[in-house]
Amino acid sequence: MSRRTQENLIAGLLVAVFAAYLLMTLNLGPNARLVPVPIALLGLGFLLIQIVSQNRSDGREFQLDLFASLTAGAASGTADAAGEEEPEPRETGESFPRELQAAGFLAAFIGLILLLGPIAAVFLFTSAFFLVTGHFAPLKGVTVAGLCTLALYLLFAVGLQLQMYHGVLAPLFEPR
């Protein structure tokens, strides 16, 4: 998938979000929608200009600036006034499997938290991550994970008196 197709896909998705949002405001009273409606309309407008501009220009020119478009490219300086992150255009074909893995890890972690509660999940996830990446020898990995879990437990459950979520499976283990 080319970068431009991906960009268009994301932009298309956002158009759908904005449209759905606008639809939802129809049920609201005049005060409740006073701010949301213009904001969503503005966003939609910006997005449409963005879509047009990213498809009109060729190659990697879709980082078009509003100001640049207004002043017909007079301010070429703005284009490289990159923000907090230097954009690193890389071949997405290579990173896609890693991205899926990353999302998978995250989903697994969340799943564990929901099933077993945060503390048990932290221990399992951390151990598993150490084992899978092979960063530590297995025994050391489990030990480090255990220590970290203990530290977090002491910090959040004991120190902050946070009532931990027990996880969906907890009742199965509870003595009755």
Binding site: L28, G29, P30, Q163, V168
Partner: protein
């Protein structure tokens, strides 16, 4: 993932419930969960944490565990209590005022009928007060009525003070203009002091400092009787009669039920009796009384039976209130 969560919760509840029904409905030796639908650092939760161990002691329960369930201005926790097993092992502590009002006003999130909760006892209450800005020229309710323009009421969204004011204005014939969107009591107080607003409703202790400083003037107490420190400030009940009195009485009853314990509807009679006794005893425990003084959380207990009667009164009067509350809500939407 998010859609699955309610299902998982349901399964959890189902498992919990299936285990629960096997027990006799006594809390003796059991773990009681005390839901606190308010924020973790708030007054309500501090009260709940302070009182919980004493209830456990007097009820002979293994433990009374405070469970914070913040959300939707108390609605989330109240919804949870509504669906809880009526075996006495899940009770809640919050301001029932907000719950009744949001229900009467037709809030879409409400799944419960607040008047059907079983009342177990009140821990504390404090009358609320309508104060006006010192520079507003208003010194009494009569002045507010004859301003020749609407009385400007800065409000923080749709809280109990908003609804109380709507009802007061309606029955007392005060033309009202609500300016909603303020961020908390400090913000409305400042608006009143500045003269952006004419007056607002707060708790007596919260307004102490500004009244003493001469920035605000109390004109009306929303409580069963006059506030001892300000004997010249009339109560709302003194100023109305007939059907209006009924409406104001309902509001006063509601406000008087803040900081109370209650259980799910159709709570088992044995558990109800047990918990009411235990809560009364806990609130009379000299050690708790000492604690409450030390922590600056004053107690003003009232037995569950008495509070239950107020609930009934509120239910009867609420039909009067509904159109007023709905109209007030409609006006700011």
């Amino acid at each position: 993932m998010r859609a699955r969560l309610p299902c998982l919760l349901l399964i959890f509840l189902a498992i919990a419930a299936s285990g629960a029904t096997a027990h006799a409905a006594s809390v003796r030796g059991e773990i009681v969960t005390l839901l606190s639908p308010n924020s973790a650092g708030g007054m309500m939760t501090r009260y709940a944490r302070m009182i919980a161990p004493y209830i456990a002691r007097h009820a002979g329960a293994r433990d009374v565990r405070v469970r914070i369930m913040t959300g939707g201005g108390g609605i989330r926790g109240a919804n949870a209590l509504w669906f809880a097993e009526p075996d006495g092992r899940t009770i809640a502590f919050t301001s029932v005022t907000t719950l009744i009002l949001s229900q009467l006003a037709g809030s879409e999130a409400v799944r419960f009928d607040a008047t059907r909760f079983v009342y177990l006892g009140r821990a504390a209450t404090e009358p609320r007060v309508l104060t006006v800005g010192a520079g507003s020229g208003i010194t009494s309710v009569h002045d507010a009525r004859t301003l020749g323009r609407p009385f400007v009421f800065p409000s923080q969204g749709t809280d109990e003070d908003f609804y109380s004011m709507a009802v007061l204005a309606d029955v007392m014939g005060i033309p009202l203009k609500v300016i909603s969107g303020y961020d908390g009591n400090a913000d409305t107080a400042l608006a009143v002091i500045k003269g952006d607003g004419d007056g607002h409703i707060t708790g007596w202790s919260a307004s102490q400092a500004v009244i003493e400083a001469g920035d605000e003037v109390p004109v009306l107490t929303l409580g069963p009787e006059r506030y001892p420190d300000y004997p010249d400030v009339p109560t709302a009940l003194e100023l109305v009669d007939g059907a209006s009195l009924e409406a104001v009485q309902a509001i006063v009853n509601m406000l008087d039920m803040r900081r109370g314990f209650f259980g799910p509807p159709d709570l088992d009679p044995e558990a109800t009796a047990e918990l009411r006794t235990a809560i009364s005893a806990a609130l009379d425990d000299p050690q708790l009384v000492a604690d409450s003084v030390a922590q600056g959380l004053p107690l003003l207990p009232s037995p569950g039976e008495a509070e239950q009667i107020k609930i009934t009164q509120i239910t009867e009067a609420s039909q009067h209130l509904v159109p007023m509350l709905r109209a007030a809500l409609e006006a700011i939407r």
